[in-house]
């Protein structure tokens, strides 16, 4: 693999994994839950 390909791939992965983890962190530490059925 070329260096450019490595940089492109790792940068894209970092953004995607970072955002995914951040969202799950916010979600799982949230105190709000949806109510059950009404």
């Amino acid at each position: 693999m070329t260096s450019l390909a490595w940089i492109f791939m790792l940068a894209a992965w970092a953004v995607i994994i970072g955002n995914t983890l951040y969202c799950f962190y916010k979600l799982l530490t949230s105190e709000r839950q949806f109510d059950g059925g009404d």
């Binding site: 693999m1 916010k26 979600l27 949806f34 059925g37």
Partner: protein, 592 residues
């Protein structure tokens, strides 16, 4: 009737992620990347994700939740609740129509995963098996399953057809049993399992070392059948190329893939979101589902199929064979290297793909069912079976004719073009008709994630302009034939007859011509543009074609013409149902 609501927060996120994570991530994304030049595809893909995918996720969630407040759970009603003109409900028909069209071929692929899981479990794909029937290669099994034969318009496989109908029946049955229960349970079990297995596959795939490179390899498993390093495939995907950035067909493919994979432009997100309460968060929930999907698609999906396929087939053949079927050829070959684990691995992988696919296909049925339940007061089972009844006449030609006809056409017109068109319509409605200030307030209502302020301007200006540009450029795409220039001599290359060799550059010569002073090429429609496709320019008959090949292409053209008539008829039928529903609403004094 008690109103259906989501049982838990995590359940909704997993259901949404399950809806988004499907065959698009592990089979369609790699195929699209290969067909559109690997690294050349990924740049438009990420631009599309930023300016269309992520903003539209929030737009659709907000629209769905807003419409749900008025008791609407499908896009005709949701659109009508946001725009005053009666035309919006008819534009919302796309949110029903697209789901039906996509489901009719998506379920067919889903049935392949079922067949592959079953055949793997009983020890299939094993050339050393004592049972002859289990010795079939993945390619032969695929041909037998689909009935596809070169230059044959009919592609009938009775048992393939049987599995397809079983698959449809399973979907309809689950749909008839309810929203929260069925989908949440399937997602909660299937999603984490699928992600773990995909990670294992990615690592194992990258460890393949072809025998020719064994001496220089520092790690990995030497494989006699491998013809290239899997990293060659990874390099093809990730080495950025800028030459196709002026090609609208690549931009449309990238936008289409973003929409397909995130289930945007289909009306299914609107439907799910319409069951969310007014003060519940949608910003964080939508973002979580979207980024989980991107993780599965780019990090996992991009690392599994193409590297493994390149390792066993070589890059050139992968580029030729690329399509939904590629994964069905490649994975069993890899699993056969795992010895006694092969049946379990094949069963688990294709079984999990089936899980991923079924959560997506169930989501496709929801908007149509919600429409029938809300507007025609059908019960849930009745609406589920009505959806099944609509599917059968469309699914039948998908399964019985060459994939170049109904299958490819549905994937193209409904699975790509209509998604982009629907996104244009909903962005204009949300940002310009409903009003961006109200729209932003609606998105931020109850938000547990602060959406960055620049998305206000992206949604209002960038997204619609971008979408419109892609649609216009793509619709009118020219061939843009220019002479091939030999870089060594800087002169035109000529063929054996002394004629200059021409290369298709699309819009590029027309855009750059005024700046470079080069003469503009004569206008010709491109076969990869919309008008070119309507004129069948993507199905040329070569002068050297055999009579059999000529007859096949002529039959494919007829098949596509019939298919287009069917698609138009289905749209008109949905529009008629909407008209009847609104007349009834008026007569009964319900809000219209």
């Amino acid at each position: 009737m008690a109103k259906e609501r989501w049982a838990s927060r995590l359940g909704l996120v997993l259901a949404m992620a399950g809806n988004a994570v499907g065959l698009g991530n592990f089979l369609r994304f790699p195929a699209q990347a290969v067909q559109n030049g690997g690294g050349a595809f990924l740049i438009p893909y990420f631009v599309a994700l930023l300016v269309m995918g992520i903003p539209l996720i929030w737009v659709e969630w907000a629209m769905g939740r807003y419409g749900g407040r008025f008791g609407h759970h499908s896009t005709p009603g949701i659109f009508q609740s946001m725009g005053r003109s009666p035309v919006w409900k008819y534009l919302g028909v796309f949110g029903l129509w697209t789901n039906l069209m996509i489901a009719s071929y998506y379920l067919y692929i889903e049935s392949w995963t079922m067949a592959y899981a079953g055949y793997s479990l009983i020890g299939g794909f094993n050339p050393e098996s004592s049972v002859q029937w289990l010795q079939q290669s993945p390619g032969d099994f695929f041909a037998n399953l689909t009935g596809e034969k070169p230059n044959h318009i009919l592609a009938i496989s009775p048992w393939g057809l049987g599995i397809f109908f079983v698959c449809m029946a399973i979907n309809v049955f689950i749909l008839s049993r309810g929203l929260a229960k069925g989908i949440e349970i399937v997602s909660k079990i299937g999603m984490p399992l699928l992600i773990v297995f995909a990670m294992i596959l990615a690592v194992r795939g990258l460890m393949i070392v072809p025998e020719s490179e064994a001496a220089t390899a520092t790690f990995g498993i030497v494989d006699k059948e491998a013809v290239a390093s899997p990293f060659e495939g990874l390099n093809f995907v990730w080495n950025p190329k800028f030459d196709s950035l002026t090609n609208p067909a690549v931009w449309l493919a990238a936008a289409g893939q973003i929409f397909f994979t995130l289930s945007i432009g289909m009306g299914s997100i609107h439907c799910y979101a319409s069951y969310v309460r007014e003060q519940d968060d949608i910003a964080l929930t939508g973002a979580t589902a979207a980024w989980t999907n991107e993780f599965c698609e780019v990090v996992l999906g991009g690392t599994i199929l193409i590297p493994i396929a390149v390792a066993y087939l070589g890059l050139a053949e992968v580029q030729q064979k690329s399509g939904f079927g590629l994964g069905f050829m490649v994975f069993p070959t890899l699993f056969q290297k795992w010895g006694w684990l092969a049946p379990a691995a094949g069963f688990m992988w294709f079984g999990l793909l089936f899980f991923a696919a079924i959560t997506s296909s169930l989501a496709m049925g929801q908007p149509i069912m919600a429409f029938l339940q809300t507007e025609f007061k059908l019960s849930r089972p009745q609406s589920a079976w009505a959806f099944g009844a609509m599917l059968v006449p469309l699914a039948f030609p998908v399964a019985c004719l060459s994939q170049k006809t109904f299958f490819d056409e549905f994937d193209y017109w409904a699975g790509t073009f209509a998604l982009v068109l629907f996104a244009v319509i909903e962005t204009i409605l949300f940002a310009w008709v409903f009003g961006m200030n109200r729209a932003w307030q609606e998105m931020m209502n109850g938000a547990e994630l602060k959406i960055p302020g620049f998305f206000f301007y992206i949604i209002k200006y960038v997204t619609p302009v971008f979408l419109l540009l892609i649609l216009i450029a793509y619709t009118f795409q020219p061939e843009g034939l220019v002479p091939t220039i030999d870089p060594a001599t800087n002169s035109p290359v000529v063929d054996a007859n002394g004629k200059p060799e021409m290369v298709a550059r699309g819009w590029e010569p027309y855009i750059m011509g005024p700046f470079t002073g080069q003469p503009l090429p004569e206008w010709q429609w491109s076969g990869s543009g919309m008008i070119g496709k309507l004129l069948f320019l993507d199905l040329p008959i070569s002068p050297t074609a055999t009579p059999e090949e000529k007859e096949f292409i002529e039959n494919v053209r007829i098949g596509r013409a019939v298919d287009r008539a069917v698609m138009v008829a289905a749209f008109i039928a949905f529009a008629a149902l909407v008209a009847i529903a609104w007349r009834r609403r008026k007569e009964q004094g319900e809000p219209t």
